[in-house]
Symmetry: C2
């Protein structure tokens, strides 16, 4: 970026069988000095589609974005489902590495079948992304996919995500967590526009194996209750969890002060699906072509006005119940503001909650919450506090009950009520991240076994197994939700591995998954250690270890030794 150059490089042989998260973590580990300032010249932004992304493999349009995180100070891979990933893969691009910093002004990287070039993007800075993405689609045509960062990133916010367009062209798909938007903006890169017209497609080494595997996996996804058409995810989206997690007492209220609310059903997936139907939004809906699960949706204002995009469970919780807000329209507008400004919803919701606990707003005051988002848009000092996330806002407002791990806000499952997910929050290299080892599957949904959510025993092992398999899934390009099916249906898992073998010409087996995942996690943890993180960073916040959560009145009591055993020898 310092010289405005774009160069293509052949994929080194060492990297050939890597993709997505595994590739990102390897490049970050190889090329980024662990102690560098995340927003200084030595950090890099890396984007990589998964191994099978861009092929006919089902539900595999995932994109990994990574670098050193300004939020956690450690390694970061953020993961998103978007056609952009498929387009990149079809253009024959294994990864984009954005290096150095431009002297001044923002650029746009345009990629198509003929090559890639940097262009001036100045006209599109300082603006909301809904408008910008619409304008860019107008300028570059319907065949492009866009990745970009927003006003939050221009403010160098530690809460700034990387936005990707959904199939309607809206900036609603986010590699949201960890502040990678600011890493992008401080390189001087504002957008990447990828044109899929005439893209050659992804080469497959062994078509037969690929096809065999694909069929097994599609069958599994069609068979499992969670992933099948008309199943829970397809019918209600991820927000189906509101009622479920509320029922088990793990839906955090008012900055993790309680685990259940009588009002929760007002923002449930069931209620939302009903509303979408009435309003004329869309449900179900795909985040990227070729998805069998189709858990997405297009939420709108009444009468199908002003579409927002999907409202995911974690977003609804963060911007809703945890702020004392139980109104889908307010949640929708807050989600729109996050998408428009380039904010991660989980971090933004937790930040608003902290402002409420700090007395700068009232719990339940949705209008005030929307005003806070406008402070960010205007770049006021108040906005500069909020754009830096939960922990940062806690310090500004003197709040000590700050729900973060490694500086990253805790998502929508209280770890005192569901302890395995707490082990994941604590020990995942990425900071508090439910997707890093989604113990909810087993503890609440009974997938891949069963486990009492209030029990501490066995949770280190559960989290370890899930973190390893997740690291692999995040590398393949498959959506994590495929795991619901393949954890229960062995043929599905076999099929998944076969599609990878088909693409790469490898002969991996199901038994290799754990070891590959272990290696990815090892690479990530070694980066973190070199960056100065220690086992004391693998802990839940003090208040969760001391303050009981109603209704179960439990603290988080998984011993530190257990947590350390997740990645320990």
């Amino acid at each position: 970026m310092s010289e405005g150059n774009v160069e293509y490089e052949d994929v080194p042989e060492d990297y050939r069988t890597l993709g997505g998260r595994g590739l990102i973590s390897t490049i970050v580990s190889d090329e980024v000095p662990p102690v560098c300032h995340p927003l200084g010249p030595n950090n890099k932004l890396i984007l990589a589609p998964g191994i099978v992304t861009g092929t006919q493999a089902p539900t595999s349009g995932r994109m990994s974005v990574g670098g050193k995180s300004p939020l956690t100070g450690g390694i970061k891979e953020a993961n998103v489902g978007t056609r952009f990933s498929q387009t990149l893969a079809k253009l024959g691009i294994k990864a984009i590495i954005v290096e150095d910093q431009a002297e001044d002004g923002y650029s746009l990287l345009k990629i198509d079948k003929d090559g890639a070039k940097l262009m001036d993007a100045k006209g599109w800075s300082g603006e909301g992304l809904y408008k910008v993405y619409e304008e860019m689609m107008g300028e570059f045509g319907e065949d492009v996919d866009i990745c970009g960062c927003g006003i939050a990133a221009e403010l160098s916010g530690a809460n700034s995500g990387v936005a990707f367009n959904d199939l309607e062209g809206m900036p609603s798909r986010y590699a949201g967590r960890g502040g990678l938007g600011a890493v992008m903006a401080t390189r001087g890169l504002k957008f990447i526009v990828a044109d899929r017209e005439g893209a050659p497609g992804v080469g497959i080494e062994d078509e037969e194996t690929f096809k065999k595997g694909r069929e097994k996996l599609v069958d599994a996804l069609h068979e499992h209750d969670v992933t099948k058409p008309g199943g829970a995810l397809n019918s209600y989206g991820t927000d189906v969890l509101i009622n479920i997690i509320n029922e088990v007492g793990g839906l955090p209220q008012r900055n993790f002060s309680e685990g259940r609310s009588e009002e929760a059903s007002k923002v449930s997936g069931e209620e939302k699906a009903e509303q979408i139907k009435e309003r004329g939004g869309e449900r179900p809906h795909m985040c990227s072509p070729g998805c069998v699960i189709q858990c997405s949706e297009v939420w709108t204002k009444p009468d199908a006005e002003d579409p927002v995009g999907v409202l995911e469970y974690e977003s609804v919780w963060a911007l809703g119940p945890n702020c004392g807000i139980f109104d889908l329209d307010t949640v929708g507008e807050l989600n729109r503001a996050c998408n428009d400004l380039g904010l991660d919803t989980i971090e933004a919701g937790n930040t608003i909650t902290i402002a409420m606990e700090g007395g700068v707003a009232e719990f339940g005051d949705g209008e005030r919450a929307l005003e806070l988002m406008e402070e960010i848009r205007k770049g006021t000092p108040f906005g500069r506090i909020l754009v830096n996330g939960t922990k940062y806002a806690g310090q500004a407002f003197g709040v000590t009950r700050v729900p973060t791990v490694k500086g990253q806000a805790i998502p929508a499952y209280d770890p005192r009520a569901i302890k395995g997910i707490g082990v994941t929050y604590a020990s995942a290299p990425m900071g508090a991240d439910h997707t890093a080892g989604y113990a909810i599957a087993t503890e609440i949904m009974g997938i891949g076994g069963e486990a009492d959510p209030l029990e501490t025993e066995g949770k280190a092992e559960l989290s370890r197994d899930l973190q390893r398999s997740t690291a692999v899934i995040d590398s393949t390009g498959y959506c994590l939700f495929t795991a619901f099916a393949v954890l229960d249906i062995p043929e599905g898992l076999e099929g998944m591995v076969e599609t990878v073998n088909g693409v790469l010409g490898t002969d991996l087996t199901v038994d290799d998954i754990s070891e590959i995942g272990k290696q990815i996690l090892k690479t990530e943890r070694e980066f973190n250690q070199a960056a100065g993180l220690t086992e004391e960073d693998d802990r839940l916040p003090e208040f969760m270890r001391e303050e009981e959560l109603p209704p179960h009145n439990e603290i988080f009591d998984v011993p530190a030794k257990e947590i350390d055993s997740v990645h320990g020898s």
Copy 2:
């Protein structure tokens, strides 16, 4: 504080021979959980006079204040010269430990010869400390000394100091560094008022040894050029260093962008002494009774109006040259604002500089700098950014050239031009702290040997020796400036040890100093390690390792291995 109780405890035998920093570090290590939130219920604020404080030992009115630092996340001992310390010692108090948090409202702890009690302090919160200290002196009488925290601490600012009155009753003496004011305020304690009337005094076990040692030390202080009456410190105060450090190219300009300025002499100690004489301020002056060196002063507006107190070298630099400000009146008013609000000057000056680099103010604009202080007074969001210090402001304003170690701002000596002090900044358990191992003495002043400031060789050893002896001096209650004399005059050092033996009835020798210092540092570093700090926290900022400093065009190039050898085996 949670129950409003005050209890006296006998000094445990283990603690009998400890004092000041050594006692603080031991209590913090014994009683404060290293991973606790510094502003949460589990931190403690501890105050302790030195071992010989309150006796006739010369220049020994030092007070140590400690706890877990909200600025560094590690252990903190901040050190100040004040009669408060002598009063406490004479009242027979070895240490004050402030525990737990009050439910609401601020208290005041009143201590006199008859005992101690908590009183309501609500009327004195939210106010500037100059006014409050004057009112409190009016209410409690001329025989009291006051310790307190200001508006910065009420905002939970990571830059908030603990203020002590000078001999005029002004809040100009600070245990400033590391945010201990916020630790005090979050306990619910706003002031401590200590009445020296009828205080029984400090017991001395061996009067003869004490007297003999005292004479030797007084002789040494009277003899050495730096400490003697009419010597450099006595004539010009610490600000005598402006011209000296500017001359060697180590006086940081505009956020550590250059090491020398042609305008520096406008804020030099020589110029200031002249101005004080003309205005009718006071110079020389004592910070506490019994001081032989008398380096302090009373800076005022013209015609002796509105006295501020002392303007130390590091304060003048931080609020002056590093902000592009070369006007003593502006520096004086900025220093007044810091004293009034309860801010550490070094941290505050660096924070203003970051705001300037971040484009929120112009370098050299003193009026704007004063306005920024008023943002803190008003508690605006902008003020809440500034009150949290240099690193925090860097994040808000997108500045990556942030001069901090362990989150604490670097003082007035650029480590690229004077490398031994850089080793101290990097390796001191307290964060960037020149007083922790004042290599300037040897590198620039030729005290205790000589060393080329630009040379890296031998600087680990120099810093190690100084850090160990400093840890001991900070425990005795002697001012660090006595070291200038005792490093050059062996009899002075002997005398110092004899006064300690006299008070305690011990038989320590000069040879024991290094080992005692080593133990104190070990205790402190073990706390930091348990709090999650690593050797990566023992590093100067990235930009100082990459960006050359004019006029010498040097980077900080002491190898990490050398830094780690300071405390390594």
